[in-house]
């Protein structure tokens, strides 16, 4: 009959004595790990919602900034332009994560509705770097030679028409789909030079109140129809991590710049979510500390209850290291099991949450983030180190 050394140790060092404590410690560890991972995962998800380009309709962190038009400035459009110094200053502010110009057209634009709709208007175009646009569309591209220009309209514009103009004038209201299906006749001109294009509305922006065309088109058209000068922008767009940042709000006020105040208000949601995440994480940490404490107490009780046996084992030549390894082997599978359970639960929660959010047009990964997995590993390592220390300490005390 062959038995391993650890098999024999199992008969000598009874860990059953602290089973209640061990169960408590493991449960505590499990809940703590779940809360910690949840908070980290929520943080990552929220970051994804804010910064991932897939997510539309999330305007919280993009601010279109312009100078306030005052009575003094009227008639002097150059006064509303940003100077290169002002632009450099905005760029170097700590809250500016990304910066883009809004480029205006330097040519005349007219739009006409197709067929016998008898709609004709003069209009303008602007362009911003694609990363600042909240509409994602396959059609949002243009290259020299294309006869079709994709256009993004402000959502507000359609609303103004549908609920203000159309209702009061007895005109039909138009759905987004209908507008998207309507080809517009776009004519751009400068003096005698004219060219016709077909304009297609590809989306509606909540973020930027302007008629947007792709930057490539704007550059081409300004080159061909413009005055050859690079105009100073009068509107710029910045990406910022936290629009509610007091420094940002103060900066705008001091410089006399204005932006969509409503967007600053939205950011409060973010603060609330982050507070909740922090609170969950905080409870996770506290619970983890308690779990570590209970583990330590369990180890102490087990070692104290087997004091005589452990002393005899050491007398017979068992190395303290062998005893440590034996005791740790009782715990490590528990941590790994707990971590796996927590990760599985978090994965399920994440998967479900991703599904629900996708239904609301918000996209987060349906898998947990590497940070969450890393955190689970980190907790295991932490618990291992703390427990190894208690085991070493108590074994040393009695051997």
């Amino acid at each position: 009959m062959k038995q391993s050394f650890f098999g024999l140790l199992k008969k000598i060092i009874q860990t059953g004595i602290g089973k209640g404590r061990l169960l408590m410690a493991t449960t505590g560890l499990g809940i703590a790990m779940f809360l910690l991972l949840l908070s980290i995962q929520m943080h990552t998800d929220f970051d994804q919602l804010l910064y991932n380009q897939q997510n539309q309709n999330e305007s919280v962190d993009f601010l279109v900034i312009n100078k306030k038009i005052t009575n003094d400035m009227m008639g002097q459009s150059e006064k509303s332009e940003f100077t290169p110094q002002e632009i450099a200053d905005i760029k170097k502010q700590p809250f500016t994560a990304a910066f883009g110009f809004i480029t205006a057209n330097q040519y005349k634009v007219t739009a006409a509705a197709p067929g016998d709709l008898h709609f004709y208007t003069e209009m303008f175009f602007e362009a911003v770097p694609d990363t600042f646009i909240d509409v994602k569309s396959e059609d949002w591209k243009w290259q020299a030679g294309d006869n079709t220009i994709p256009i993004i309209l402000p959502n507000d514009f359609l609303n103004l028409y549908n609920f203000g103009y159309a209702l009061s004038q007895g005109l039909p209201q138009i759905s987004q789909e209908t507008i998207k299906a309507l080809p517009m006749k776009i004519t751009i001109s400068k003096g005698l030079l004219t060219q016709e294009f077909t304009g297609r509305i590809v989306g509606f922006s909540d973020r930027i109140s302007s008629f947007l065309v792709p930057g490539s088109f704007m550059d081409w058209a300004n080159g061909k129809f413009g005055n050859g000068l690079t105009p100073a922008p009068s509107r710029v767009i910045i990406k910022t991590k936290d629009p509610s940042n007091p420094v940002l709000v103060k900066y705008l006020e001091e410089k006399g710049y204005s932006t969509n105040q409503d967007k600053l208000k939205y950011s409060k949601t973010k603060v609330i979510v982050q507070t909740i995440v922090s609170v969950i994480g905080f409870f996770g940490v506290i619970l983890l500390l308690f779990a570590l404490l209970v583990f330590s107490m369990f180890i102490q009780v087990v070692i104290a209850s087997c004091k005589r046996e452990i002393q005899l084992l050491v007398t017979l030549g068992t190395a303290p290291r062998q005893l440590q390894r034996y005791l740790m082997r009782q715990f490590v599978p528990l941590y790994i099991f707990t971590a796996i359970i927590s990760l599985v639960v978090i994965t399920i929660v994440q998967w479900k949450a991703a599904g629900i959010l996708a239904g609301m047009n918000m996209f987060v990964s349906s898998w947990i983030s590497p940070a969450t997995g890393g955190a689970a590993l980190l907790v295991i390592v932490l618990v291992y180190i703390v427990n190894l220390r208690s085991v070493k300490r108590y074994i040393n005390e009695i051997s």
Partner: protein
């Protein structure tokens, strides 16, 4: 491994010992490696205390116990554990058997403490047969008689490699016939390892061909 005593005096027995002469206490003693040493000692002269000092489970003494020229307290716990697994073995007077294990498990524990056991399980069976304890190998330690425990403790001490075997009245619970069998086995195992032993006992005996005698 060399064992030396340098003016060793147990603190609890200090006054008593200094009143008389001893060949061990308060002397410079060197135990020659590989020799069979008998230390004869009347009750109360510190026989078990000496064994505990030699095996380093007590240290309430003045003077030194030198192991390879170094006092015990210069060795770390892991170094001491390694010595107890490979260089020095022991049979305690109070036997120290785990009652929750069977006789066989008590021996096995010591045998497999080393990742590569020194002797085979068959060797253990053979030794148990020689000491007439084969029939109790599967009994729990709790139910063993003192004589049985003593023989199990002897076998347990013999399953490991050692250079010194320290024994404290190892035959106190055995009849002459069983004691002689145990002594023969011990002598054989020591010679196989080229090891020495230090045996303490109350009386004179001729069970071994002792190289050295001391009076405690």
């Amino acid at each position: 491994m060399q064992l030396q005593l340098d003016n060793l005096v147990p603190i609890p027995l200090r006054d008593k010992i200094l009143q008389r002469t001893s060949e061990i206490w308060n002397q410079a003693v060197t135990f020659t490696p590989g020799s069979f040493v008998k230390i004869k000692a009347p009750s109360g002269t510190g026989k078990t205390t000496l064994v505990h000092y030699l095996y380093n489970i007590r240290n309430d003494y003045t003077g030194k116990v030198l192991v390879d020229g170094q006092p015990w307290n210069t060795y770390t716990k892991d170094q001491i554990a390694r010595m107890r697994q490979q260089q020095v073995s022991v049979v305690f007077q109070d036997l120290r058997i785990f009652e929750q294990l069977t006789a066989q498990e008590n021996i096995e524990l010591k045998r497999v403490m080393l990742p590569h056991p020194y002797c085979t399980a068959e060797k253990v069976t053979e030794m148990a047969a020689r000491l007439n304890v084969s029939h109790i190998m599967h009994q729990s330690g709790k139910t063993l008689s003192y004589g049985e425990r003593q023989r199990i403790a002897i076998i347990r001490a013999l399953v490991q490699p050692f250079e010194w075997l320290v024994m404290d009245e190892p035959f106190s619970h055995l009849d002459d016939e069983n004691a002689q069998k145990a002594a023969d086995l011990i002598a054989e195992e020591c010679r196989a390892r080229k090891a020495g032993f230090i045996l303490t006992d109350l009386d004179h005996d001729n069970r071994f061909a002792y190289d050295t005698h001391f009076n405690l």
